[in-house]
Symmetry: C2
Subunit: 372 residues, 2 copies
């Protein structure tokens, strides 16, 4: 693990340190839009076959890095590994999305929940160590987990949902049971992320994919509070390095000021939030406290042509504005990303256009500022 | 049409005039959660059979009013009647949602679009007149239409969508075609709402159900701009009465300050937005300009028990705070509603609990204020 990191721009931007350009990675960058991924997936036989095999997980994690000059790698896995380790029986039906054999909706099933033995998730930590080795210092590796609320959505519904009726019914009618699920999830997620850190993850991200479906008030009580609980149990560093923490709430723009109180370094944003406004609200000032911001181009921009993608990238960069450039202090920084996972039908060549545009224009932006 | 309106609280609240309690109605209040509706629907044979038959449409519009002391009626119809009249061939598959026979995605199909002959929508205007007559002044009747953007989503996708890939691809890659669709839609919706007003609608509401899926920047350009275009073509009054205009953008909370510039009276909110914050941003002050606010309880609250519903209603009322009570001037007002359409599995008795709680607590709130 003592390999020198050749590209630390992502980690530096997480900690609000100046970088020569805006680092970029893409949520779900190792995925079905890549023919290379589909080939490995076919060899593995199933999604879980892929995720539980160290060699396959390493292979697909590195594929996008071989194709594009991305500034970070993210562990190939799924947020639902944690409830699976709780014994809920995860499976992925073809074209159907994830499904649990057991749902968690009543007193008995909630009482039966417990923080899983992390040994059951050994395949994830092995993958982290293997990927770190394979990366050999090219870029940092991000570990991740679902937020307690987002995991609860799947655990209560038993699968994805359009209206979240089951989980919201439980939340509104039996808040006591809901809080118990969320507490178990928070402690599980914290243990899971700490083990990823010990296995070699250089940053960790919490995906609150479904926080945005909650009502104002319920979000604070049932999502944000338990994300904060996860963070409070996370180790701050490993082997002498600070481990940055990223929190992404899809549809959470309205609660950004409240998320500023989270003990994390980076807040991820979806495409509905204006980055300049987000910077104003939570990005802080040079030398002062604040959050780095990550996001937030609409993944559907990747279905336009390269010139249009280039223009859209420039708009997103301009929306944030020039990040601070003084290496002697911290200040507002931006990590470029999509506002949500990349779509499986995305033309791979358009990803190249996006990454190139981010690097090129974000460098130019800083050069202009420095010359002024 | 000269019938005296016995309950004008909704219309007064729309115009920011004081009312003795907070008026309430529910989006999709005439719908599948009511056994009475399902019976009429069965007689009609199909959704469009129901919507196109004046007697049936009148019957189902009045059903919730006979069951609950709601303060407004809303025309039973569908937002997709307009693109259907454009010749796109609307159908509703059982359990599948709406579908169009033709999609509008290329130069030829966009060029072929035109504002439909309003005679094709005669069944809607006849229903409006019939419902007005049947209401006989009990409560006011709200007419409605989909926003240009929301209609475009269905016209381009051909049906509902999870990711809006087709419509966003068109928007990002051929903005010229998208603008043309939206302009035709805006002029069509304006003509449609004006005809509803002439037929007897006493307020009109624009449903921008899918505005919230747009990126910041795109929302302003492709949704808000065309909602404004509709409003600019609407008649302000009919038979000496002002016709209030309501605009509801699901997921639009982040853009509320920009929506304040719309030439409408009421802004509808979903449950993600804090009503107190919304009031602060756009609700105005006593004697000053501002928007009335409508919303915003999570429809899933209706799956809790009556005591829990009562408590949740109190929270929403408290979040807005006491509306202004001075009859001699205008000021901040609140119209209670769900943050989205009522779920079809909602227990009907819980709707009674909700409506009762709104009336009771909102009266008590004003009494306390007046005594202070």
């Amino acid at each position: 693990m003592a390999t020198i990191l050749q590209n630390d721009h992502f980690l530096r931007a997480c900690l609000r340190q100046a970088t020569p350009y805006t680092p970029v990675w893409l949520m779900r960058q190792a995925g079905r839009y890549l023919p290379e991924y589909c080939q490995t997936r076919a060899k593995a036989g199933s999604f879980m076959g892929l995720a539980t095999n160290t060699d396959f997980a390493t292979e697909v994690t590195l594929q996008p890095l071989d194709l594009y000059p991305l500034d970070a790698a993210i562990l190939f896995s799924d947020i639902l590994t944690v409830p699976d380790a709780m014994g809920l029986g995860l499976s992925f039906e073809a074209g159907e999305g994830p499904r649990f054999a057991k749902t968690t909706r009543d007193e008995a099933s909630v009482a039966a929940l417990a923080v899983p033995d992390m040994a059951k998730l050994r395949y994830v930590f092995d993958a982290v160590t293997s990927i770190r080795k394979a990366l050999n210092g090219r870029v940092p590796l991000i570990g991740f987990a679902g937020s307690p609320w987002t995991l609860a959505c799947y655990m209560v519904e038993g699968r994805g949902s359009d209206d979240y009726r089951a989980v919201k019914t439980l939340m509104y009618s039996r808040p006591d049971l809901m809080h118990r699920i969320l507490e178990v999830n928070a402690l599980s997620v914290a243990a899971y992320l700490n083990a990823q850190i010990e296995a070699g993850a250089q940053a960790v991200m919490i995906f609150d994919s479904w926080g945005g479906v909650l009502a104002d008030g319920a979000f604070q009580q049932f999502s944000l509070r338990y994300t904060a609980m996860v963070l409070s149990h996370l180790r701050r560093g490993h082997e002498g390095k600070v481990i940055p923490r990223l929190v992404f709430t899809k549809g959470g723009g309205l609660w950004l000021s409240e998320m500023a109180a989270l003990d994390c370094d980076v807040l991820g944003l979806d495409w509905t939030m204006n980055l300049g406004r987000a910077r104003h609200l939570v990005g802080g000032t040079e030398g002062g406290p604040g959050k780095a911001l990550q996001g937030n181009i609409d993944p559907m921009v990747l279905f336009a042509n390269p010139e249009q993608i280039d223009a859209a990238v420039q708009q997103v960069l301009a929306s944030f504005g020039t990040p601070h450039t003084d290496p002697s202090t911290t200040g507002p920084t931006h990590i470029f990303n999509l506002g949500h996972g990349i779509n499986q039908l995305t033309p791979p060549e358009n990803v190249a256009a996006l990454v190139e545009a981010v690097h090129k224009h974000s460098r130019a932006m800083r050069d202009v500022t420095e010359k002024v």
